[in-house]
């Protein structure tokens, strides 16, 4: 191809998007084999067993919560939102990288995304599931959750549409539905491939039903591509709106440390930042265990690290502006909030966030770190921890000392907070492992296009 992509990529010393020797047929077989033949069952079963421990913890935590009420958590006045809400924000943020990779990078013609978008989207779905559990459990009487949905009822009342908490219901449920549609639509042609390749009767039936009779006609592809692009076009503003609405839950309130206009961009950037860290956390072991180094190359890790670094600066700008505004605003309560974050009882939380999100992350300037899977994986864990701390800081250290010193208090999570938090990890891992085994983890039809293009460009596409 005379468009110079290969020359440019070599000039910048970028690793290839796919390793040499990846052909459309070869890549199809390689990915389909994971779903149809189940290699590496032992590792998979071990991880699945680990995740079921988490699911059991979640069940136990939630059962206790339902029996005794939200009092089993450490929440009280003044800290009425604790680890549950911090974890809600954290989980939903993780999901954002999936949509960014699948929708925004599609619109920007970043075809390297093709080998990571499927599992990043799956990550989104499962992260939103974990996130959604929290506000539901936090309702106090979760069995009345349907009161949040506007429906004509004999109580003659409606949800309060001027409240960000109601916006949140719509934002999160729309986000889940749209992510599911987007994910499933691209799965239809891939399920068709599995249906055609399957040799076991049960697999032929199941994938046959899931592929809904897709036959890859030119007319199918035309409608599909048009719809897929439009879905991406709608998912892009949607993903920005979701974390914006989540940030409104805080920013619309008058609590010092919450009431801030920098929140929407700061939350969205933080979401993408932690989401990409999650992509790295998942991609590094997955490519190793299932030997996918030829399609999830160092280029993908390198690019993910660059996105992490760029969004880290937006997040740091958010920290800087929070500090600046509390000084420049000259509001006693606001400047005390900042002072309290830095020197108060929760100050280790603040300083570890700064240490990681503004300090340690600078290691990603170096190519040797970006292209070292193990180093990057450790980095991703650090970032993920710091981002959880950040949400902890926003939720808890803002609430624990507000206007009236008389009503100050301290907060710490109980065993049930931690059971449920570890439990959501278990649930996430459980769903993700099932996905890896029964659904093609890489979009085969897009990889066939990439492989076709890359064949004439030395692995660059």
């Amino acid at each position: 191809m005379p468009d110079g992509i290969e020359e440019l990529s070599r000039l910048e010393d970028l690793p290839p998007v796919v390793e040499p020797g990846v052909t459309p047929a070869g890549i199809t077989d390689q990915i389909a084999e994971v779903t149809l033949k189940h290699p590496h069952t032992k590792t998979w079963l071990m991880l699945l067993a680990l995740s079921t421990v988490g699911v059991a913890a979640l069940t136990a935590g939630l059962a206790m919560l339902l029996l005794r009420g939200v009092g089993v958590w450490g929440v009280d006045i003044p800290v009425a939102w604790g680890i549950a809400i911090a974890s809600f924000v954290w989980w939903i943020g993780i999901g954002h990288a999936g949509t960014l990779i699948s929708a925004i990078l599609l619109l920007l013609h970043q075809s390297w995304r093709n080998s990571i978008n499927r599992f990043a989207e799956a990550m989104t779905l499962f992260a939103v599931m974990c996130a959604g559990l929290y506000p539901l459990a936090h309702l106090g009487r979760p069995w009345l959750f349907y009161w949040l949905i506007p429906y004509p009822n004999n109580m003659s009342v409606w949800p309060q549409f001027r409240s960000p908490l109601v916006w949140d219901v719509f934002a999160v449920s729309t986000y889940f539905t749209v992510s599911l549609i987007f994910w499933y639509s691209a799965l239809i042609p891939d399920f068709a491939t599995l249906r055609d390749k399957a040799t076991r009767r049960s697999q032929q039936y199941i994938y046959g039903i899931l592929s809904m009779g897709w036959r890859g006609s030119a007319r199918h592809w035309q409608n599909f591509e048009s719809a897929y692009l439009l879905l991406a076009g709608f998912a892009t503003p949607l993903v920005l709106s979701v974390h914006t609405v989540v940030s409104f839950d805080f920013a619309v309130a008058i609590v010092p440390g919450w009431h801030s206009t920098v929140f929407p961009p700061y939350f969205v950037a933080g979401a993408i930042y932690s989401g990409f860290a999650m992509v790295v956390m998942l991609a590094v072991p997955v490519r190793k265990i299932w030997r996918l180094e030829n399609v999830i190359t160092l280029r993908h890790l390198d690019n993910a690290a660059k996105v992490i670094l760029a969004t880290a600066f937006i997040v740091d700008y958010g920290y800087l502006m929070e500090g600046f505004m509390s000084w420049y605003g000259a509001d006693t309560y606001d400047s005390y909030m900042m002072f309290n974050r830095m020197t108060g009882p929760y100050n280790p939380v603040f300083w570890s966030i700064i240490l990681i999100n503004a300090g340690a992350v600078q290691a990603l300037w170096f190519k040797s770190v970006r292209r070292n899977p193990l180093a990057l994986w450790v980095m991703a864990w650090l970032i993920q921890t710091a981002m959880w701390f950040e949400r902890y800081m926003i939720v808890i250290s803002s609430l624990h000392r507000d206007y009236l010193p008389r009503s100050w208090g301290m907060y710490s999570g109980t065993i049930y907070d931690w059971l449920i938090f570890c439990g959501t990890w278990g649930l996430f891992l459980f769903c993700f492992l099932l996905f890896l085994r029964y659904v093609p983890m890489i979009t085969m039809f897009e990889m066939r296009q990439t492989a076709h293009k890359a064949a004439s460009r030395g692995g660059y596409a």
């Binding site: 052909t23 459309p24 047929a25 199809t28 077989d29 506007p150 003659s156 009342v157 409606w158 949800p159 309060q160 549409f161 001027r162 109601v166 916006w167 719509f170 934002a171 729309t174 539905t177 749209v178 549609i181 987007f182 499933y184 639509s185 042609p189 068709a192 491939t193 249906r195 055609d196 390749k197 809904m212 009779g213 897709w214 036959r215 890859g216 006609s217 030119a218 007319r219 592809w221 035309q222 409608n223 599909f224 591509e225 048009s226 719809a227 897929y228 439009l230 879905l231 709608f234 998912a235 503003p237 949607l238 709106s241 609405v245 409104f248 039809f445 897009e446 066939r448 296009q449 076709h452």
Partner: protein, 179 residues
């Protein structure tokens, strides 16, 4: 199986460019009732097939507008007509607060219509049976092979002549498709 009515004749190719050229020759020869099958979308396939523009964008636009209208009117009806409530002295029709939900419902309805009317509806899915699957070689249409199928309902269709026509295009093989 050979006594079943004929659905069409199908030719198999292993090269994208060859496949596109075969589609162009088929249409140039005056065949109209035909379809082409490929394992992935191909640049230039729509033009080669002379397909009219897809109606998906229009469907999605209608979906989006419906969602927007639905979202706003739901909130207006609930907050200004059926259950008027003064919240912090804001007007009953406090439109600024109604934007997030209006936006979310716009996106939701647009995406649902793209999926259910666009990808599924226009493509006639789910479809439990289609004659092309009776050709065993067609299993590779979802992996690495490209197929052109001329259907029997085409006025020019003649089993022997159409077969010969497809064979002259230089495919890997030509197969009869039974209903």
């Amino acid at each position: 199986m050979t006594d079943l009515p004929i659905y069409g004749v199908m030719a198999e190719f292993d090269e994208q460019e060859h496949f596109l050229a075969a589609i162009r020759s088929t249409l140039a020869a005056g065949y109209e009732q035909m379809d082409a099958y490929s394992p992935n979308p191909i640049e230039g396939l729509d033009e080669a097939m002379r397909l009219p523009k897809s109606p998906v964008p229009l469907i999605v636009l209608i979906g989006a507008l419906t969602g927007a209208l639905l979202g706003y009117s739901l909130q207006y009806y609930a907050a200004a007509i059926d259950f008027p409530l003064n919240v912090g002295g804001r007007p009953l029709n406090s439109w600024v607060s109604f934007i997030p939900i209006t936006f979310e419902l716009t996106v939701l309805c647009a995406c649902l219509s793209a999926m259910f009317f666009g990808i599924l509806g226009l493509n006639g899915l789910p479809q439990p049976y289609h004659p092309v699957f009776n050709v065993p070689q067609f299993g590779r249409a979802s992996r690495d092979r490209f197929f052109v199928c001329i259907e029997a309902r085409d006025p020019q269709f003649d089993l022997a002549n159409t077969r010969r026509f497809l064979e002259d295009l230089g495919p890997l093989g030509v197969y009869d498709v039974r209903e």
